[in-house]
């Protein structure tokens, strides 16, 4: 930075010299590129020229190329020179020169004069500035006197600076330096408009000293001079760096500083990190922790809090609070805006309502039937949907339905009671035209629909409903007081009457339409005849049942009558022809009911019979058993002798036999327990007699086994404890004894089976004649090579798989390779995070850490948590303390904050100062 500054100051000199040199030497080698670079460099480092000046310079530069080479050089140089002049004018000279008049007003002047970032200047170029100033001063004073030496030094610096800026090697700038040494003579005569070099350099200019000279003997001069000196020291303010670079530099420095600041924490953090346990039990004094205690300590800190506090603790408010709470209500006024909003809202609602009303009126006025029909349909649809969706609506609907039904039943509006209907009926239906008939039937249908009992959605159960309905029926027919018996008979009579009536009354068959066709007539007749027959039958039955009733008072099942009664009523009310069949049905129903009763009775009898038969069967069973028993009991005596025979060999055999007693014999046992002695013998003999399975055979086998064992045992016994295996004959004998059962081969087969189950053997390639190749070719060549290869591969794979088995090398062992699915949950699915090696992980979990497995002295250490903290302890941000980084952290009970401060003499005393980290290291708290 210093260098760039110097460059800014030195440049004019160089330029002047250079131009002269060039003029003298007429060196052609200078390339425009270099110039450009230089100008670039200048542009980058120097201050910004005003735009107008820049334009002028550009113009000058542009003019150049049109002239001859030399001229160009000169002119361009001149242009630069002008630029430098301008530069000088702007930056180097101005302060003393332009503000000369005002510099005695130091404070103001100073403040005014400083560029925005004077601080930066001070910070960055502390020593350089001074040097520069000195140098400058010296330079300006003894520019000529010092001559070449300074020039050279300056040149060197300049080259370095250029090098730094352009990034080119120093050789590129070598020549210029040499040129600098050459003395330059002026081309133009010295004049006002053509200032000499000296003037330009500042030698000929009026200096401070010149101005101060005459004031030397005036009072206050000393003061003035002192100030002057002061001013001088900081008078030249360098051009500020571009912001980006400045910030970069700033950041760099800041980083360095913060780095050094941060690194002092390193040992502490490292120590905390490495510590197996961190303790936070230092400040155990918890103090009060009530809400009041905390609130009383509250101090407003932020702006907002302060404002709030000022409002809350406002005198007026406090006073009002103290005096009267109602005053506070005055503050509770409703604002105009709120009121307005409310009004608006209400108005809106009102207008919406109005709109709705108008719409409804309009719809009501519409006379189109189709429209209304559609509307109704729609409504019904929606209501139906609602019923489906909503139980509440369904209930409502059901209620409505019920109401309608009640109304219908009360008014009988749709019955043929209206004037119109009666009139038509009087005149006879046959006479009417089809439309009227249809209308009547429609009306009747409606009635039927309306008066039909709906399945109520109400909570009352169906039974109660039926009760109600039966009650209703009773009401209708005014037979409340009649006993069941009487009612039934009455009903029967009624039914009889009705059937008779139907039989008498000829069915009115329509003479026109489809039914008038001959075959239809015939069919109808047939049906009618059948119905008549049925009716007659029914009549007979009625009579018979009536008689029965008279005979046996109340033998009928009341239940049947009630259950069928309603149905009959419903049918009896109807008088139309089609109902006759219904009637018949009901009749048949009656018949059914009767027959049912009969059936029941029959069933009962049958049941009894069954029972009997069952009993008889049971009897038969026992019978079938009993004789056995009897026979056995009879045989007992015979067996006893048997038993004795069995017993003879000794108790051993008898208890063996006991195993095979079957259930039946067990039963018998219980009975037999009474007669204690003969029991076992019976059992044993019984089992032997039973002979229903191979068990006895087995038993026999067992017997033989045991016997043989006994024999063997005897043999061993005879041999005694003495080891007799040395005798080859014995070993031979044993080998021979077990030679029969090829145990090894069996085992091998079993193993092969298991292996095949897990890795099935590949199928052998089979040649299908004519497939894949002509038969004659197949015959000649045999199996295709790929088949063979596949087979071979498969076989190899299998062998490899078999080799991987644990028991691959153990001939006499089969170890199951099946995955124990249930045990999988006991294994770790994946390697847990910090571990990278399975072995390390498995070794790390090998030790149990519980108190059962470890001495009490180490259990605590083994199970200590990572953080030891008492509840309620506040964890403060980490504090800086001296820590010896090479100290062993283990065994350090007090780590982190508990550590005592240590002052190490070697380090600077500054470090002992306690500092607090703002963010602090956040601690894990368990």
């Amino acid at each position: 930075m210093a260098e760039t500054k110097r460059k800014a100051r030195d440049e004019p000199k160089h330029m002047a010299k250079k131009s002269k040199k060039q003029q003298k030497k007429h060196s052609d080698s200078k390339t425009p590129a270099k110039k450009d670079k230089k100008s670039d460099a200048r542009k980058r480092t120097g201050p910004r020229l005003p735009n107008s000046l820049r334009k002028v310079l550009d113009h000058l530069n542009r003019n150049g190329p049109s002239n001859s080479e030399d001229e160009e050089e000169i002119e361009s140089d001149e242009g630069e020179l002008y630029a430098e002049d301008l530069y000088e004018y702007q930056e180097g000279v101005p302060q003393e020169e332009s503000k000369k008049n005002r510099r005695f007003d130091p404070v103001e002047n100073f403040e005014y004069e400083l560029p925005q970032n004077f601080k930066d200047e001070n910070v960055l170029s502390d020593d350089d500035d001074e040097d520069d100033v000195d140098e400058d001063n010296g330079g300006s004073k003894t520019a000529d006197a010092n001559g070449d030496e300074i020039e050279e030094e300056d040149g060197g610096r300049h080259v370095r600076m250029l090098q730094g800026i352009t990034g080119m090697p120093s050789e590129a700038f070598e020549r210029k330096k040499k040129k600098n040494n050459v003395v330059i003579s002026e081309v133009y005569p010295e004049s006002e408009y053509n200032p000499s070099r000296e003037i330009l350099d500042g030698d000929g200019r009026i200096s401070m000293e010149d101005l101060l000279g005459p004031l030397q003997d005036k009072p206050g001069f000393g003061k003035l001079r002192k100030r002057m000196d002061q001013m001088k020291k900081s008078e030249v303010i360098e051009a500020p760096l571009p912001q980006a670079i400045r910030e970069k530099v700033e950041r760099g420095t800041a980083y360095k500083l913060s780095k050094t600041d941060i690194t002092k924490w390193e040992p502490i953090v490292k120590k905390n990190r490495e510590a197996p346990t961190i303790y936070f039990d230092e400040n155990t004094d918890l103090g009060f922790s009530t809400v009041g205690a905390i609130a009383s300590e509250f101090e407003p800190r932020t702006e907002f809090e302060k404002q709030m506090a000022s409002l809350v603790y406002d005198d007026n408010v406090m006073e009002a609070h103290r005096k009267d709470g109602s005053r506070l209500l005055e503050l509770n006024k409703v604002s105009v805006e709120d009121e307005k909003e409310r009004q608006n809202r209400i108005a809106k609602m009102r207008s919406l309502l109005f709109c709705h009303e108008m719409k409804a009126k309009h719809i009501k006025k519409i006379k189109s039937k189709t429209y209304h029909r559609l509307l109704k349909k729609n409504r019904l649809k929606t209501s139906a949907m609602e019923i489906e969706m909503d139980p509440e609506a369904a209930k409502e609907q059901a209620l409505k339905q019920e109401f309608k039904r009640a109304e219908e039943r009360m008014t009988l509006k749709h019955k043929n009671t209206s004037k119109w209907a009666t009139r038509i009926l009087r005149r006879g239906l046959q006479v009417q035209d089809e439309g009227t008939r249809a209308a009547i039937s429609e009306q009747l249908h409606q009635h039927a629909l309306l008066s039909r009992k709906m399945n109520s959605m109400k909570d009352n159960s169906s039974s109660s409903g039926s009760d109600d309905s039966s009650d209703d029926d009773d009401d209708v027919h005014k037979n409340p007081a009649v006993s069941d018996q009487g009612r039934a008979s009455k009903l029967l009579e009624k039914a009889k009457e009705k059937t008779l009536k139907i039989l008498e009354v000829e069915d009115e068959v329509p003479k026109s339409g489809l039914l008038s066709l001959p075959f239809m007539e015939r069919g109808l007749k047939k049906r009618k005849e059948a119905a008549d027959e049925e009716a007659k039958l029914a009549l007979q039955e009625y009579e018979s049942s009536l008689k029965q009733m008279e005979d046996s008072s109340g033998a009928e099942n009341p239940k049947a009558s009630t259950s069928s009664g309603r149905r009959v009523f419903g049918a009896a009310v109807k008088t139309h022809a089609p109902e006759s069949r219904n009637m018949v049905k009901s009749d048949t129903f009656y018949a059914n009911s009767d027959s049912e009763d009969d059936m029941e009775a029959k069933e009962n009898t049958a049941d009894v019979g069954n029972n009997k038969s069952n009993d008889s069967q049971k009897d038969v069973h026992p019978d079938s058993v009993l004789p056995h028993e009897n026979t056995e009991i009879v045989q007992d005596s015979v067996f006893k002798s048997f038993d004795d025979i069995v017993r003879d060999p000794g108790p051993k055999t008898t208890y063996e036999v006991a195993i095979f007693a079957s259930d039946r014999w067990r039963k018998m046992e219980s009975r037999d327990k009474m007669d204690a002695k003969s029991k076992r013998s019976v059992k044993s003999v019984g089992t032997e007699h039973n002979q229903d399975s191979e068990e006895p055979m087995k038993e026999v086998g067992d017997h033989s086994d045991s016997e043989s064992e006994g024999q063997m045992v005897d043999g061993v016994l005879a041999l005694g404890p003495k080891p007799s295996y040395e005798l080859p004959s014995q070993a031979e004998l044993i080998r021979q004894a077990f030679a029969g059962d090829d145990v090894e081969e069996d085992f091998e087969n079993a193993k092969q089976e298991v292996l095949n189950e897990e890795n099935p053997e590949p199928e052998k390639p089979v040649l299908l004649p004519g497939w894949g190749q002509w038969t004659h070719v197949q015959k000649k060549k045999g199996l295709p090579s790929w088949m063979l290869k596949d087979h071979e591969n498969a076989q190899r794979k299998r062998e490899e798989a078999l080799k991987k088995r644990k028991d691959a090398r153990l001939k006499h062992v089969i170890i199951s390779e099946k995955l124990d699915v249930k045990a999988q949950k006991l294994l770790t699915k994946t390697l847990p995070y910090p571990f990278t090696s399975k072995e390390v992980f498995e070794q790390s979990i090998r030790m149990p850490i519980g108190p059962e497995f470890n001495p009490a002295t180490t259990v605590g250490a083994l199970n200590r948590p990572e953080v030891v903290k008492k509840p309620g302890v506040i964890i403060r941000p980490i504090e800086f303390k001296e820590v010896n980084p090479h100290e062993n952290t283990e065994g350090h009970k007090s780590s982190g904050q508990k550590q005592k401060m240590k002052k190490s003499k070697g380090n600077g005393t500054k470090m002992t100062k306690k500092t607090k980290m703002a963010g602090g290291k956040t601690m894990k708290v368990k």
């Binding site: 195993i659 295996y725 170890i815 294994l827 699915k829 390390v840 283990e890």
Partner: protein, 514 residues
Amino acid sequence: MSEELDLKMKKYLRGGAANLEVLQDKKLKGQLAHRENLYGKSAKAAAKFEKWLMPSEGGYLEAEGPVEKTWRFKQEDIGQAVDISSARNQYDVVLPELGPYTMDFSSSGQYMAVAGRKGHLAIVDMKNFEVRKEFQVRETVRDVVFLDHQLLFAAAQKKYTYIYSPEGIEIHCLKDHGTVLRLQYLKTHFILASVNKFGHLHYQDVSTGASKSYRTGLGRTDVMRVNTVNGVVALGHSGGTVTMWNPNSSAPLVKMLCHHGPVSALAFHPNGHLMATAGKEKRIKLWDLRKYEALQTLPGHANTLDFSQKGLLARGTCSFAEILSGAEHYSRYMNHSMVKGYQIKNLLFRPYEDVLGIGHSMGWSSILVPGSGEPNFDSWVANPFETRKQRREKEVHLLLDKLPPETIMLDPSKIGTVKPARNKEKPTKKEREAEMEAAIEDVKGSITLKNKTKGRNKPSKRAKKKQEIITKVKRPFLEQEMREPQLSRKKQKVCVEDELPKSLQRFTRKKAAT
């Protein structure tokens, strides 16, 4: 001294640390190193405490000179040498009528259950030799086993297995076990295992009642033992095979051919690595269960085998019992001959005592076997001097510490380790591609085209042929790839619903139809 300590320490270190140098993660390395340090301290402390916690050493028989043999010592000689309380353990109980006796000790050795073949059941307090309860079930009793749980015991009777309370009250009748020939109890799992006369192996959890049954398919057997270390049940079969089972699989975990003749007896060493089997072909074999190899073959019959807590092996035939000992190589240690005609049914070492119980056809007897029992008991495991209160406390603890049946496996130390990668897992796309490439390269290298007749040997045709061969090789891979993505998509669909917790599943978007 330090060497001894080191040896003891090694035992407590359980294998030592893994090589931490493999780890890249410094933090983890530090943590593990710290842990290992703690483990070391713990092991050292434990090794030091051993001196105080395990004060007594096991006894033994020592022969003087080369002529004297330990197996020549008679019980009378031993009885004279030992103290009175130990000498009390030499006795014979003669009960000639109720058939050969079997017995079982409770895990602390405090009680003994005896069962006579002809229905005599009794519980004996071994401290004062009092019969706590004695009753007759009037049925064949084939086996009896202590459930270690409120002092219940199970008896395999003629038809069913019954569980009795210490007062002799029948608590359960286990009907679905069938006619049980042999019973075993898995103490830590609370499982009663039985094998019935049809060769069905039946497991029943006595705490929950859950049961499971497996068909062995190897015929009737009454040779059954449980390996106390891992809970695996071993059965000896008539084909000379020994099968090992756990309740989770219907097939045996291990099936090994041990003998040419039928297997007559079986026993497990308390360390779980050693198994002794006896065959009818007059061989006794010792097996290393880690390698499934026979370590040693001894001549002799054995109707019954049993390992003591200290690793002595007892075998019994007819009226003769022999005790073998040895660290690696088992050799004769003691002999005991009973009255001729007695048939030894069952041999069982009493835990925490140097006593061998013998059940035989004429009652039961008990002899002293120096060095058989564990001299130092751990009251957390089994306390021979347990009071009633302690027992009650322990029962609760046992229930709380009950292991689920899944933990029964051949190597229980595998629990908690990383699941081994299944070799049948699908290859990744990259692998598949690489495989395809390799196959193509393979084919390309081996293409040899015949020289055909003039018109057919055109280079274009040859190139075509080559291309065909390559596509033929490629096809199976591509087809497989075509098949894969559909599967995966299906899986994903299923997964989305599965992943959600049940409460949120109803919010998953159903198909557009609804």
